[in-house]
Symmetry: C2
Subunit: 432 residues, 2 copies
Amino acid sequence: MLKLQRLFTKDNNFWSQLDSLLAWDTLSDDTVTQTVRDILQNVRRHGDAALLDYTRQFDRRNVQNPEELIIPKQRLQQALRDLDNTQRQALEQAAERIRNYHQHQKQKSWQYTEADGTILGQQITPLSRVGLYVPGGKAAYPSSLLMNAIPAKVAEVDEIIMVVPAPDNVLNDIVLAAAAIAGVEKIFSIGGAQAIAALAYGTATVPKVDKIVGPGNIYVATAKSMVFGMVGIDMIAGPSEILVICDGQTNPDWIAMDLFSQAEHDEEARAILVSPDATFLDTVQDSMNRLIDKMPRAEIIRTSLTNRGALIQAKDLNEAIEVANFIAPEHLELSIENPQAWNSKIRHAGAIFMGRYTAEALGDYCAGPNHVLPTSRTARFSSPLGVYDFQKRSSLIMCSEEGAHTLGQTASILAYGEGLSAHAQSAEYRTT
Amino acid sequence: MLKLQRLFTKDNNFWSQLDSLLAWDTLSDDTVTQTVRDILQNVRRHGDAALLDYTRQFDRRNVQNPEELIIPKQRLQQALRDLDNTQRQALEQAAERIRNYHQHQKQKSWQYTEADGTILGQQITPLSRVGLYVPGGKAAYPSSLLMNAIPAKVAEVDEIIMVVPAPDNVLNDIVLAAAAIAGVEKIFSIGGAQAIAALAYGTATVPKVDKIVGPGNIYVATAKSMVFGMVGIDMIAGPSEILVICDGQTNPDWIAMDLFSQAEHDEEARAILVSPDATFLDTVQDSMNRLIDKMPRAEIIRTSLTNRGALIQAKDLNEAIEVANFIAPEHLELSIENPQAWNSKIRHAGAIFMGRYTAEALGDYCAGPNHVLPTSRTARFSSPLGVYDFQKRSSLIMCSEEGAHTLGQTASILAYGEGLSAHAQSAEYRTT
C-alpha cells in the first residue's frame, strides 16, 4: 500500500504546509569538507603523484605511472564498435536531436555604430577548455554525458577533458561509447575530489581547465564548490523533482508512471501531482497502488513518494499554476487541454512538458532540450545547462574622436563626483 | 620616484614570473565566516528584531521600529530634485546610454516545430525580485547603482529591492538620486551581512528576493557566498585590473593616466602595460613620475603600481595579445593602430577598449556597457553583468502523438540501458 500525503489549497495553512514540504537544507558535513580540502591541497602540491596515490587508495587500482590514467581514444572507438546496434542507434539519435536543439542557443557577437562613429558591442567567444566529470559505477549514465558534452561542442569549446573513475579497473562501455559519439577530446580514468583538483589546478598529465561541469557525489560536489572562482562550475544539483499539473483528463496510469519515473531516481526525489479534480487524484492513487509492485525499483519509489511526494487538490488550473510558480519545479508537466494557452503563465520552471503525450522521460533522453536543470527551487533564478554556459562575452567599446569628447565630459563630471581624479583626467585628456 | 617592475617576454621564465605576479588567493578569514554565519542565523530566526539590533550596533542608529528602516520613495525624488544640475544631467545621460546598450542584450523566447508536429523551444522570463546591495560611506558610487539596476530594469524584473546602510543616519544623496533615475522599487536603510540575510530569507518588512547583486565589503561578500543556492548571486569581485596594450604611438601621458585611473581604486588594484616598444615603456614611466604628484590619490596609486603593476616588453603585438589571453584581464585597452584587426584574437577579457581615444574610464561611467566585469582571470569563463543575468530560461517540449511514438522508442531503449524501468514505461505508454 502506497499512500501519498494529500494537501488542499483551500486550507488556511496550505502555503506554509507546502513550504515545509519543500524545505531542503543541504547540510555541510565537516568531515567531508576537511577530507576534500586535504585532497585538493595534496593534488595542488604534488600533482600526478597525489593523483596516483588517491587512485590506488579509493579506486583500488595498482597504478604506478601517470600514463596509466589516460584512456586512449581508440578505447572509446572500440567501445562504440562493440556496442549493441539498437543501443548505438538510440544513442546516436539522441545525440543528433540534442545537437539540433542546442544549435538554437548559440549566441553571436553583435555591435552597432552610433551617429558620431563610436562603436559598441559584445564579442562572444567559447571557453577554451572544459572539464567534464562523469561518475563511475552504477550512476554512470550515458545520457548525462551527452547532455553535458554536446552543448560544449556546439559552443565550439576547444577541448573537453573528461574524467571518469575506474574503480577496480572497471569502466562502463556505454559511457565510453557515448563519449566517442559526443566527440570528447581527452579522457582520464580518475574520479572523486582528486579529479576535480586535477582539472582545476592542472598536473603534468591532466590539463588545467576553465570550467568544470557534470554530476558527482558529495565529495565531487564539495570539491567543485571549493574550486569555484578559480574555475567556473555548473550548478550543484539537489534531488530531482517533478510537478505534474493535470486537468483530470489524462490516462491516470500515465500520470502514475510519470510520478514513478521521477521517484525511482533515489529516495530524495520528489514527485507532486496537482489537479482541480479530487476524483482524479484518487484514481491516480489507485493506479500507483496497482502498478507499484511491478517496478524493479519499487522500494525507492515507495520511500520517496511516501516521504516527499504529495497529491494537491487545487480550486482550478489557475491556482495549480500558482502552486507551480511557488515550487519553481525542475520538471513541470502540463498534462492539460490546450497547454499552449497556459505556459506563458509559468514564471519559474526548469523544463515544461506540454500536453498529454509529453512524458517527462522523453526529455531525460532524446527530445533535444537539456536534462541538466535547476533543482530545489533555483529555477527562480537559473536556467537549464546550455550552449550559453560554454560561451562568454567581452564588451567592445571603440570611441571616435568626437565620441571621446562628448563621453569624456560626462565621465569627468561623474568621476569627480566619486572622488576619482585620475579617472576624470584620463577621460579629459581625450576631450581636447 | 615611482618605479614599476619590468618584465620581458623573451626571458625564459617570463610566463612563470607573470603567473606569480597574478597570484591572488582570497584568504577565507575564520572570524569573518563565524560572525557572518551568526548574523545570517539570527536574521533568519528573529527577522526584523535582529535587523534592528544589528543596525543599532553596527550603524550606530537609534532605531526601534522596522518602519524606520524603510526609505520612502519621496526621499529619492527629493534627492534627485536637490541634485546640482550638471551632476543630474551627467547621471541621466549615463543612465540613458547604459539602457540603450543593454537593450541589445535582451533575449527572447523561441520555438520551432518539427515535421511530425512536435514543438521544441525555450521560454525566457525575467526574475521576479532582485536585491541590490549598495555600500554606504565613502565607497558609495552612483555609477555602480546604475550599472547594477538598469540591466534588471531592461530585463523587466518585477521589483528591485535596494539595501544601503546609513551609518550614523547618513545617506549619500547622489546615490539616492541615482536610485530614482534607475527606477528602484523599494529601498531599506540596512547594510552588512544582516541586509544580505534579510534579502535571502525575507523578514516581515523586507521581501525575500530571488537574486542578490551589487558590491560590498568582506562581510557582504561572505554572506552572499553563504546564501548562494537559496538565492542567485553575481560574481564575487576581486581587485580591479587593467591591461593596456600599446604599439608605442599613443600619447604616453594618456597611457600613464589610464594606468593611474585603475591604480587609484585601491592598493590591491592592478595596472599592466605591454608594448613591443622599449623606449615607449621608458617614456610612460617618465610620464608617471611627472604626473604622480598631482594626483589626490597619489599614495594609493604608488602602492598599487609598485606592488602589483608591471611594464612588459613583448616581441610584437601578437605576443602582447598572447599575454592578454593569459591574463584574461577585467579591462583591456588596445591602444594600437587599427584595433579592429586585432580584437578577434582576444579570447579572454571582460571589456575591450579599442583605439587611442577609448579611455577605460569612459566605460566606468557612460559609454553604455556594464562596468561590473569578471576580475582575477575569471573572464576565462564569465561575462560582464548583463540583462541575461536577470533573465532565465525554461525548456519547452510539446510532443505530437507521432512524436511521442518515435521518441518513446528511443527513450525506452536508453532508459532500460540505465536500469530505469519506470522511465522506460512512462515513455512506452505513449508509443501505442
